[in-house]
């Protein structure tokens, strides 16, 4: 039995206790929004609808509070404008679309990886583009934003990496899952650029299990939740998923057990995360988890560990830079039903309609890379 398989069995034992699931009253359904421009042609579409397809909009309502929505953008991975205009164009478009929402969203959450290599000019470019969005904005960092200067510029631009606020009956929490990597750079005397380069490669083996919440932040999370009714909605934003999906790509947090211990008493917890660049849905104990699309590019599903509850997204056309990226929508009614919508540019169907529509229809056995562990890497 492989180490990964042993881990998975442990997860199942720890998290999937008999009868433990997210509150059934907060039911998740899935549907896709057929973008009107797909049906009638982009040239004839009114401005309002032309703005739609890139946003992640979320409608959350609690029975005693009016419904509202907010927008999600993440994983823009900006290079300097002089190097890569495609990522810039898509970020600009996303920002304009959020600003054009009518009625406006209550706030925008940016879910991390604004920059590709953490450079000051990349972060400042992202900040400038997002100034297009005039509504309230909150930010959590991604690993690409952090490891050049260890979060210095991020903090100057966007403030603390974790935070909480209450809004219309929902407690929102932003977690920092990226800043606590084990030190892989000091012993090897890496420059900041080398440290960032290793961190920026998803399948790199040098940065190791960098994603984690950390003991002191877990204590803060526990304290933050202790003043909240256990049956009222909690939405936790994180860059990484708060469970173990595929550790080699840090599609997890390494202290998922402790996170689960803190969240276990709460019945309406939704974790919305970036990093995976793909449609993803899972239930871990009493917590539901939703992975959001990137604006930059889609990741393939990992070779192992895709949650069984995930309805796979359609196989992406690599020739279309707008395919596989887009927005998702979580929409809750006063009856505590939640609809999850993903919309991609130019896609009528976001989910695979047949086995051949999904990339996983072709079996593959993959090895981890090796060249980054062979000196000089």
């Amino acid at each position: 039995m492989s180490e990964l398989e042993q881990d998975r069995r442990e997860i199942a034992t720890v998290l999937n206790q008999p009868g433990v699931r997210p509150d059934p009253k907060l039911r998740i359904t899935r549907r896709t929004l057929i973008h009107r421009s797909c049906l009638v042609g982009a040239a004839t579409v009114a401005e309002t609808f032309a703005w739609w397809p890139l946003m992640n909009t979320l409608d959350i309502a609690h029975a005693a509070e009016p419904p509202f929505k907010f927008a999600w953008i993440s994983d823009t991975h900006l290079y300097p404008r002089s190097l890569n205009t495609r990522f810039v164009e898509k970020t600009v478009r996303a920002a304009k679309e959020v600003q054009a929402m009518s009625p406006p969203a209550d706030f925008l959450i940016f879910g991390g990886d604004l920059a590709q290599l953490g450079k000051i000019e990349e972060l400042e470019l992202g900040n400038e583009i997002l100034k297009e969005v005039k509504i309230r904005k909150v930010f959590i960092p991604g690993e690409h934003d952090w490891y050049l200067d260890m979060g210095k510029k991020w903090g100057e631009l966007f403030g603390p990496a974790n935070w909480t606020f209450d809004h219309k009956g929902v407690r929102f929490i932003g977690l920092d899952t990226v800043s606590r990597a084990p030190d892989y750079w000091s012993m090897k005397k890496m420059s900041p650029e080398e440290r960032m380069a290793h961190m920026s490669v998803l399948d790199g083996t040098v940065a190791g299990p960098w994603a984690g919440v950390g003991r002191e932040q877990l204590d803060w999370l526990q304290k933050t939740l202790s003043t909240w009714d256990r049956n009222r909605p909690v939405v936790i934003f994180s860059h990484n998923p708060l469970y173990e999906y595929y550790p080699p790509w840090n599609f997890w947090v390494r202290d998922w057990r402790e996170v689960n211990d803190v969240l276990k008493p709460y019945t309406k917890v939704t974790n919305i995360h970036g990093h995976v660049h793909q449609v993803l849905y899972n239930e871990i104990g009493s917590v539901r988890s939703i992975g959001m699309l990137a604006t930059a590019w889609p990741w393939p599903y990992a070779p192992e560990g895709v949650p069984k509850l995930t309805k796979p997204m359609i196989r992406v056309d690599p020739g279309d830079i707008y395919d596989g990226v887009g927005w998702g929508k979580v929409d809750a009614t006063a009856k505590d039903e939640v609809d999850v919508e993903y919309v991609m540019w130019g896609r009528k169907e976001v989910f695979a309609q047949s086995p051949e529509d999904a990339s996983k229809s072709i079996p593959e056995v993959l090895r981890p890379r090796i060249a980054d562990t062979i000196w000089p890497y």
Binding site: L83, N84, V201, L202, P248, W297, R369, A371
Partner: protein
């Protein structure tokens, strides 16, 4: 009746055979494989895998060393294909929808270099192509051949 020509050919083959037996094997394939030979072959392969891994992950020094420009956008192959996921070398050759033609893995590698990466196409027989191929195949070791699979 044996003609003079046939006799000459028979003699030539016999002489070459005798030389081969008497002089000994000059071709390594005709000797039992020794561990150091196996290691040398494997090392030669893994060196290509290592080069291909670096190229695949956008290593500028290796690209420069091999004289190729695989990207002009900052994108690298591994950004869409971590651990070479979704490259599916075991399904080639096949009809490739993006190119609208029957394609080899090398065709697809060049398509990705030119389209998403906006880099410069490389020669089919170039060292860089062989290294990329070596890495992709190595990384997919264990995948079952499914030529033509969409």
């Amino acid at each position: 009746m044996i003609t003079r020509t046939t006799f000459s050919r028979t003699m030539l083959v016999g002489v070459l055979g005798a030389v081969a037996v008497l002089v000994g094997p000059v071709d390594a394939h005709k000797t039992p494989i020794k561990p150091d030979q196996l290691k040398a072959y494997q090392d030669a392969f893994m060196e290509e895998v290592r080069k291909g891994d670096l190229l695949f992950h956008g290593d500028e020094a290796m690209a420069k060393q091999m004289g190729v420009v695989l990207s002009n956008t900052g994108m690298a192959c591994a950004m869409c294909h971590p651990q070479t996921a979704d490259t599916h070398p075991h399904t080639f050759p096949k009809f490739q929808a993006q190119m609208a033609k029957f394609a080899t893995l090398r065709d697809m590698i060049n398509w990705c270099i030119e389209k998403p990466n906006q880099g410069e196409k490389i020669d089919d027989g170039s060292d860089a192509m062989k290294a990329l191929e070596a890495y992709i195949y190595w990384s997919n070791s264990g995948s079952v051949l499914m030529p033509g699979k969409f």
